[in-house]
């Protein structure tokens, strides 16, 4: 159906030309689903854009062909390509929040393709759009068709986008991270929808994702992209259960899995090679634990049985797993635990916001509007012991972030008691919080936003030391170096600005910043959500190490239950401002009591079969 042959694409940037894809070849058979897996910078979205013929102006196709149903797309005129695009190929983007036009009704946007591609009248297109909305599982499709995008939830928007992509009945659907921006329960629904549509319509899908659990569920075949090259390709289940390329092994070892606890995750050190001048040999060799001198020679994609692997040593390494970091720290840690009393105690904490007003209405004789209030934090009580990590999970809008910030008094509570290290801080004025601020710190989700872009790492890290008088003037520099060492960054990073570091490095600085005051409690607000899998593992390991070495307590907020289950001792499940279930990780994950917890745990996409494989290899 879709064949890509030897595709090489370069981007012109001010810093030089970047090779985003290097002779990528794959084939998606009619009615099957191929998943492209890779981390940011791997070039996977470029493939989607190239297939659709909507590459940005800076991109240049250096070589290769893209064949769609036997037709060479590049040989076609712009007109002919436009006819194929939308009519025979559909594209669903990652972010349902920004792709829909906010000023057009849903029905118009879904039916748009029918008017342009099939020559329907707007009225007939709208009727068909309603049918399509019904088909993708939207209730009351006639009402939704009249709605504007802002009136719909993320899941409904993604459904509408899929409906729009399906409108002209394309044979091929390209999905670029279609569920990444959605909550797990919604993600599960969308995947179900895609599976059903595929069966009913015999759709061919090119599914682009970084989430191996999702890929495992939806794809027949998978191709792993690294630095613009396909490093491994094969049937999904076989690839995920027995990865052959070291990078695939590393990726799979780096994901935390529900129901399988290890004290540390495997991580992939290093970073992507500079794609302005990609190395001639194996592009992964600088990060590969198995690398040898032979790896400096160019590697070609070789067929190993049903699999294609770009690694000359794949066969001798077939049985060797990615090295694990399980170093027995878990046992040391359990021995330390009992001595700890609670660092944080929260009782009946409530915070509500006014989000709007009811229309004017007469109450007795005078017209009045009543405020509409929501309580993202509603009578929450919890306590966290020293050295303990409490995970807080819940879907977007459940109030996780508000709770974390209210505990730190970054948001003032309406009612309730907050005790940090025994001191009641819930009523103190902001000026009286200095002692508490030293003891309780925060790590943010987005390291781009949490580091002041105009300050160097050294300036950033020395500020809390100076602010709290924790080091004499001559000492500051040494303490900053010690902090960098703690988060495993080299000392010369002192002179770097935020934009000169990768996402993982920025997050390390964010953690060092929180640790500078030697706090006893840190709120980690989705600290790994913005990071790639391999980097995520390293940051989680770092947080675990710091907890074990320094005895810091965490409130670890995340929407990813697998991550929380890996790192934390206890889990609290939050929904609409209330904690519906709280308890030790094993109990909540394996024996969930509340129906919502059950739904949430069941919806987590898993890399099935791999867990067993990993276990069998450890034996």
């Amino acid at each position: 159906m879709l064949t890509v042959e030897d595709l090489t694409i370069r981007y012109r940037t001010p810093g030089g030309e970047i090779e985003a894809l290097t002779s990528v070849s794959f084939n998606v058979a009619r009615g099957s689903t191929l998943a492209l897996v890779g981390e940011s910078g791997s070039g996977k979205s470029t493939v989607a854009l190239a297939a659709m013929g909507i590459l940005p102006a800076e991109a240049r196709i250096a070589s290769g062909r893209i064949l769609f149903a036997g037709q060479d797309l590049m040989a076609l005129s712009t007109e002919q390509r436009r006819d194929i695009r939308g009519a025979r190929m559909g594209l669903v983007f990652q972010d349902p929040f920004s792709v829909l036009n906010p000023s057009l009704r849903i029905g118009e946007q879904v039916g748009e393709g029918l008017v342009h591609k099939r020559g329907l009248t707007p009225k007939a297109a709208l009727a068909r759009a309603i049918e399509l909305l019904d088909e993708v599982g939207i209730r009351q499709p006639d009402v939704v068709a009249q709605a504007y995008p802002h009136q719909l939830s993320g899941g409904m928007r993604q459904r509408a986008l899929i409906a729009g992509a399906l409108a002209a009945e394309p044979e091929l659907l390209i999905l670029d991270e279609p569920t990444t921006a959605l909550d797990v329960t919604i993600e599960a629904q969308i995947l179900e929808l895609l599976e059903r549509l595929r069966a009913e319509r015999n759709l061919t899908m090119l599914f682009i994702s970084h989430n191996l659990g999702v890929v495992s569920r939806i794809a027949d075949e998978a191709a792993v992209l690294y630095a613009g090259q396909i490093v491994e390709r094969g049937a999904t289940q076989a690839l995920l259960s027995k990865p052959a390329h070291p990078y695939s092994k590393g990726l799979l070892a780096a994901i935390p899995r529900l129901g399988e606890r290890k004290s540390r995750l495997a991580s992939i050190p290093g970073r992507l090679p500079d794609l302005r001048a990609p190395p001639a040999g194996c592009r992964f060799s600088s990060r590969c634990p198995f690398a040898q001198t032979a790896c400096d020679a160019a590697q070609s994609l070789q067929e190993v049985g049903e699999r294609a692997v770009r690694c000359g040593r794949a066969e001798p390494l077939a049985a060797t797993p990615w090295p694990s970091h399980d170093d027995g720290l878990a046992t040391i840690r359990n021995a330390q635990q009992p001595s700890a009393g609670p660092v944080v105690v929260v009782q009946g904490l409530t915070k509500s916001f006014t989000i709007g007003h009811t229309p004017w209405a007469f109450e007795a004789w005078r017209p009045q509007r009543k405020p509409i209030r929501i309580a993202p934090v509603n009578r929450i009580s919890l306590s966290i012991a020293a050295g303990e990590a409490l995970g807080l999970v819940g879907e977007s809008g459940s109030g996780k972030t508000t709770l974390g910030r209210t505990i730190l008094r970054l948001i003032n509570p309406d009612a309730g008691v907050i005790r940090i290290a025994g001191e009641d801080v819930s009523r103190l004025p902001q000026g009286g919080l200095v002692a508490m601020r030293r003891l309780a710190q925060i790590v943010f989700q987005n390291p781009d936003s949490s580091l002041n872009p105009r300050k160097t790492v050294g300036e950033l890290l020395s500020r809390p030391l100076i602010r709290f008088g924790l080091a004499s003037a001559g000492d500051v520099s040494a303490r900053v170096s010690a902090l960098l060492d703690l988060v495993r960054l080299p000392e010369h990073y002192k002179d770097r600005y935020a934009h000169q570091m990768s996402g993982g490095e920025k997050q390390r600085v964010g953690i060092a910043l929180a640790l500078a005051t030697e706090p006893r409690f840190i709120v980690c607000d989705e600290p790994v959500s913005a990071l790639d899998v391999s980097v995520q593992a390293a940051i989680i390991n770092l947080l675990a190490d710091l907890r074990d070495r320094l005895g810091v307590a965490y409130l670890f907020i995340s929407h990813d239950i697998s991550v929380v289950a890996h790192l934390c001792d206890r889990i609290a499940v939050m929904r609409e401002g209330e904690i519906v279930e709280i308890g030790p990780v094993e109990d909540v994950i394996l024996r969930p009591q509340h129906p919502y917890t059950r739904k949430l745990v069941a919806a987590v996409p898993r890399v099935d079969g791999v867990a067993n494989f990993a276990l069998s290899m450890q034996e």
């Binding site: 981007y11 940037t13 001010p14 810093g15 970047i18 985003a20 940011s40 910078g41 979205s45 470029t46 854009l49 970073r271 992507l272 500079d274 794609l275 302005r276 910030r405 730190l408 970054l410 902001q430 919080l433 200095v434 601020r437 030293r438 309780a440 710190q441 925060i442 943010f444 989700q445 987005n446 936003s449 949490s450 580091l451 002041n452 872009p453 105009r454 300050k455 500020r463 809390p464 602010r467 709290f468 000169q500 990768s502 910043l513 005051t517």
Partner: protein, 284 residues
């Protein structure tokens, strides 16, 4: 789509506008600063024998009704016009920036109060506001600068406020609050450094407005006083002789035109260079 580019990105090449702007403005500034030494003739010596001479080999831009060399007066006038534009802009920055920072960060009644005050100031035509300030006291150049600076406080304050609003939502401000930093530290050490790029662009454009407004006030007799040679004043004096000696008005007019274009080019170029993300926000 994110493409990983190596660690140190080389600076973008300097936009052509910025180069052209810097060349024009730089030339005018240097010539004006060197005026006392390079002026071919004394700028204020009256000589009745050389009245209304058309541009010639001795007097490159001709002479005025008192026989003074127009080129020399132009060069000296450039000093006044530039000083006027820059000091007026400094005045509006000194008051407008703290106003905008406070309004954008503290919000609430302070924001409402300051911004409504700005609205009131903006509702009065700038020239009227300048006239009001100057009409009650005897005219002097520094007063004109202050008056013009005063007129341009609202746009600076509004821009600062809008940049502050965006920055105040960033996590590094929350991180500063989590360190119990004082409000003044957050405003001037965390927010202000990040607000500079759009402010510099805006300020450079304000310099040109200030020069124009200052010249307009001089033209009305409320700025530089004779025999000083502010460009606005030169045009004003030349008005009566437009039919006999058009070069008297043309020379300062063209000089002002060039300066305004030069500074505007710098502003546009700097906007592209300093922060491409802010392009849409600043370029209303």
């Amino acid at each position: 789509m994110s493409v990983s580019v190596g660690k140190s990105e080389p600076r973008r090449p300097m936009p052509l506008q910025l180069k052209a702007g810097l060349a024009i403005t730089g030339a005018i500034v240097v010539l004006s600063l060197l005026a006392p030494w390079i002026a071919p003739h004394p700028w204020d010596t009256i000589s009745m024998r050389t009245r209304f001479l058309a541009p010639n080999a001795t007097y490159w831009l001709g002479t005025d009704e008192y026989g003074r060399d127009v080129l020399s007066r132009l060069l000296m006038g450039g000093r006044l016009s530039l000083a006027m534009g820059i000091s007026a802009t400094l005045v509006s920055l000194a008051i407008g920036v703290p106003m905008g920072l406070a309004a954008g960060y503290f919000r609430g009644w302070l924001d409402e109060g300051l911004m409504r005050l700005a609205d009131v100031m903006m509702a009065i035509p700038p020239i009227m506001l300048g006239l009001m300030v100057l009409a009650v006291t005897p005219p002097a150049l520094w007063k004109t600068a202050v008056a013009v600076g005063f007129v341009y406080i609202p746009p600076i304050a509004r821009l600062t406020r809008s940049v502050t609003l965006t920055l105040a939502g960033e996590d590094f401000i929350q991180a500063a609050r989590a360190r119990a930093e004082s409000s003044s530290y957050i405003l001037f050490r965390e927010i202000l450094p990040n607000a500079w790029p759009p402010l510099i662009v805006e300020a450079s454009l304000r310099v040109t407005y200030a020069i124009l407004l200052g010249s307009a006030l001089s033209f009305l007799g409320l700025g530089a006083q004779p025999p000083s040679s502010d460009w606005g004043l030169m045009i004003s004096e030349a008005r009566s002789f437009l039919d006999r000696a058009p070069w008297l008005a043309l020379a300062p007019g063209a000089a002002m035109c060039l300066l305004v274009i030069g500074i505007n080019l710098i502003g546009d170029g700097a906007r592209e260079r300093l922060d491409p993300r802010l392009k849409a926000r600043v370029g209303k």
